[in-house]
Symmetry: C2
Subunit: 242 residues, 2 copies
């Protein structure tokens, strides 16, 4: 028998979550999993444009995205802005806050989204009792480091069109893992946001997309994107200048 329940502060069951393989690929016994369920709460829907946390907010929890799409961005003193990532269902955000007990970036919903809140102190506590969980946390943190360093490579050494190709291929792969089409999807962000992420101006993003379309590698119209030739995109990304 099911009943409808309000969706704020609802207890979430990782044990029955269809994102578990993505979010928490760890072998835990039934009892262990229940202990994890105990500390995670599902928060209400975050509407498009709303802010999950802001730079400066006290750090208290990590957040697993249950449904939806987020961006994270840094804003420095002089008004410079950098989108540091786009996150989708099954991914975990907020790890920037651990080091100084305060978040160092903003997390903004790019579409209506649901998230699971994981109080960090309690996660650490449980990690001490469940080594596989501890290990998983370390892997997630390290994966974020590797991800960021690959973006440094992109920003430091690729040209505009290569960056775009790398970006689209990355989205494609992440959609594929989630069971969506790897070749046809909606961009959830503006050209300006893509540009900020890739270190380009929005006009350059638009031109590069148009050019990839002329090259018959993609079809793009506003936010709908279709990849016509995955290997072509890969080649485009890989081509060295010299």
């Amino acid at each position: 028998m099911h009943k409808l329940v309000p969706n704020n502060s609802l207890k979430t069951a990782c044990s029955t979550c269809n994102l578990r393989k993505l979010c928490l690929p760890v072998n835990l016994s039934h009892i262990e999993m229940e202990r994890l369920d105990d500390l995670i709460t599902r928060k209400g829907v975050y509407r498009h444009g709303s802010i999950l946390y802001r730079s400066g907010d006290k750090f208290q929890a990590l957040y697993a995205i249950r449904t939806g799409f987020f961006k994270t961005q840094i804003l420095n003193e002089d008004g410079r802005e950098q989108v540091t990532g786009f996150q989708m269902a099954g991914e975990i955000i907020g790890m920037d806050g651990i080091s100084s007990d305060a978040h160092t970036c903003d997390a903004v919903a790019l579409e209506d989204s649901e998230i699971c809140e994981i109080p960090f102190n309690r996660l650490e506590d449980l990690g001490r009792e469940l080594p596989p969980l501890q290990r998983h946390l370390h892997r997630i943190l390290s994966r974020e480091i590797v991800r960021d360093q690959n973006i440094m490579l992109l920003l430091g050494s690729m040209r505009a069109e290569e960056r775009l190709a790398a970006f689209l291929l990355n989205l494609s792969q992440r959609f594929a893992v989630r069971g969506y089409s790897p070749t046809s999807f909606q961009l959830r962000m503006t050209r300006q946001e893509i540009g900020s992420y890739l270190g380009l101006k929005l006009e350059t993003v638009s031109r590069a997309l148009s050019h990839l379309q002329e090259s018959r590698l993609i079809n793009v119209r506003n936010r709908s994107l279709e990849i016509l030739c995955l290997s072509g995109l890969q080649a485009c990304m890989g081509k060295r200048v010299r």
Copy 2:
């Protein structure tokens, strides 16, 4: 009474290490500290140019730099290279390897260096028993994430001279924390390596340094660098294009 000992596989005492405040700012009892000492070994000297680990190497340990200077770099398939960081005494490297049990970058000594090896499995084990140690590990991992995201901001939004200024100020601050002059130090890396780190060509690095010198903000001759005006450099870094 002291005696000389070979310096490979020497047991290291964090408890008496003068870098402890930098490397391991954690309150542990005498007994707890000894347990930590037990798992850390000092490895032999890494000569200038030698490699601490390579991309693809099995991940087994984190490394604390005791003396010296390292760079880390990614090399992707097409031969593109990106220096992802320069590390100095008291800093910890190798965290990229946790996520996939293999290192994803190379770590190269830029001068003769000594390092402490921290087997990661045993560190995790000990972390489960010593919550402050566990928390410290999490902070270090998170700090690396924040650091990388700030480099993304630099690469994505700053111009050549601003990047240089930010880079020099960062070095300056790190030297200061270690008790060295914040205004006069040796660059341990080539212009090419600085360029790779900052997403610039070596000629651009050279020109930008020359220009900062013309502006009376620094004196530079080969690898010796003197900062004449810290606040001037800060201003130079901060100035927005519009």
